[in-house]
Symmetry: C2
Subunit: 349 residues, 2 copies
């Protein structure tokens, strides 16, 4: 089942990319003068297979999960904040609500593994695998079956959104402690030591940061994840919301939809997705460079360059929301600008 999703992912449409590139050079501006927006329009043409791609239906999928590793004192906030913030999302009071509305995107909130009984709410998608992962410093965070189930749940969520209409999906996360498994994933895949990848997350002090690095090192030592096997890494040192986001990415790529990748946690999910299905990389756009230490190395491993750097370190999909607005702008430039010929403007001498 997961294998069939992976096999469905194709390369970008080179013909649509060539057409978009060619059209960019006819528009009334010096060639290349809109820099990253021009590149983005060409990538979006390749993703969608359309010479002039459109971004109308914008969706941010924010997935929540808890982490057994919080027992090790790796976060500045208590675990109860995960379900509290999920409720805040549902009632519209969080940063992602404000920024998604600002860019005209809808939000889907998914419980992938919050460590609490959640009230049922019409806007909450229940894909709970378990009430939080196990403490990865003592063994695998989850079973292989749970990891696969969580990925497939993510595929289901994004495919349901595609049925409603989706031109681009932004990834978002909520989960107290989740920069710890994300840094562990990055360490396992890149071979870079934990101390060079782990940051202060929501704001741990020096002691907390030491505990966090120590927890990552112990988790990697105890579990010995295979650096060539994304599913093994996800199982041993991942999280349910991260696994769900892997599914969102793979499901989007399999359906030729662009993925706007948010910050540190979403990038860890993207690394797992690319490890499992290398072709998914072409569907990814990195929205922003997170202030979280280590994010730059993760983007380098992926071969992605973030669109912007606004010193964000929040998650939820907040950076992705702003990135989605750029993607939409990029498509509008390609679609709506006059050509030199149409506007009667003289081209370069």
């Amino acid at each position: 089942m997961l294998q069939s999703i992976i096999e469905k992912i194709e390369g970008l449409d080179e013909s649509a990319m060539a057409a978009a590139r060619s059209r960019q050079s006819t528009l009334t501006k010096p060639a290349g003068s809109l820099g990253r927006l021009e590149e983005l329009s060409i990538q979006l043409a390749g993703i969608s297979g359309k010479d002039i791609p459109e971004i109308k239906d914008k969706v941010i999928i924010t997935m929540a999960g808890d982490h057994g590793v919080v027992e090790e004192g790796v976060s500045a906030f208590p675990q109860e904040v995960t379900p509290q913030m999920v409720m805040n999302f549902l009632y519209g009071g969080a940063a992602i609500n404000v920024l998604a509305k600002h860019v005209g995107a809808r939000i889907t909130i998914v419980d992938m593994g919050v460590a609490a009984e959640m009230e049922s709410h019409p806007a909450l998608v229940d894909k709970k695998i378990a009430q939080g992962t196990a403490n990865m410093t003592k063994g695998p965070a989850m079973t292989t079956e749970e990891a696969e189930k969580a990925i497939l749940a993510g595929v289901e969520v994004v495919e349901a959104e595609i049925k409603k209409g989706l031109d681009i999906v932004g990834t978002g996360d909520m989960g107290i402690g989740n920069t710890t498994p994300s840094a562990a994933i990055a360490a396992a895949l890149t071979g870079i030591e934990a101390a060079k990848l782990a940051g202060r997350g929501t704001g741990v002090d020096d002691e907390g940061l030491k505990r966090k690095i120590d927890a990552i090192e112990r988790a990697l030592k105890v579990n010995q994840p295979d650096p060539k096997d994304g599913l093994d890494i996800l199982t041993k040192v991942g999280g349910f919301e991260i696994a769900g986001l892997v599914g969102v990415i793979l499901g989007a790529a399999a359906n030729r939809k662009a993925v706007m990748v948010d910050g540190f946690i979403s990038t860890a999910a993207a690394m797992i997705a690319v490890s499992i299905a290398p072709k998914s990389r072409a569907y990814l756009i990195s929205a922003h460079r997170s202030q979280e230490y280590g994010h730059t190395q993760m983007l380098e491993w992926l071969g992605l360059k973030a669109l912007v750097d606004l010193d964000f370190r929040l998650g939820e999909g907040t950076g992705a929301a702003l990135g989605i607005s750029f993607a939409e702008a990029a498509c509008k430039i390609l679609a709506e600008m006059a050509t030199f010929a149409d506007a009667g403007v003289s081209d370069k001498e």
Copy 2:
């Protein structure tokens, strides 16, 4: 008259800034986790004098002018492109039309000194000082009277927009050859040599770049502008659209309105404005770092940090349009997010 505008510019409202800073720390996110957007919301509070500032009416003022120095072969495009692009703005086909619409801003197009008789058009504001500046390699680009008149015309334009409703103004420019006077302004104010400030503009080749650097060096030698006197520099090596933008900036600051500064040309105008009226600096936000060589040094001189770097080198206000969207997002975050208390979310342990 210009002096009275300068004297009207006050410092930021510290009390509103303190209130905004304090409110940011109560919102349901780790303190500081929205980085630049949080800083921006605080600056906008200080500018507007409102604890919770709002950005609803967004205006981009794009000013056009021609430059006698194009005789020296400093641009990749012919001078006729300036009026052609003005018509393109008026008919909605340029990049700034697309991006302004994308962010919900209105555009005002101003003829400050296009070297052509422009057709009258209801949307074109006519403030033409002359049909292009004189060739600055042979003497001053304009007279002191013209420079002052152009600045005051810019003040009038922005004050007319403020009467219609304006919470933030983005600056934009159009003028074949105008990276040459802009680099000359930067060289005069910073003392940095022309070769380290002049870039390829719309895309001159190596020979064109040599001619451009040579033209700037000759203009500075012939005119000997006083590095401490912004008006003198503007007169001798500036341009009419640049002078108009100086007026827009001073007029906005005098009326406590935020200015989103676009790229290379707008930043040269900002440098003149700050040289003439140092207090205007607090009202400036740098939208983006231009790909044009030298822009980084200009921002350093101003003490501004660009919001984003998308490799733009177009002008027109295109970067400012995207920046305005960030400013609006920053205000919405401050105004619309729930507090920890309201949402029942536990704060940091």
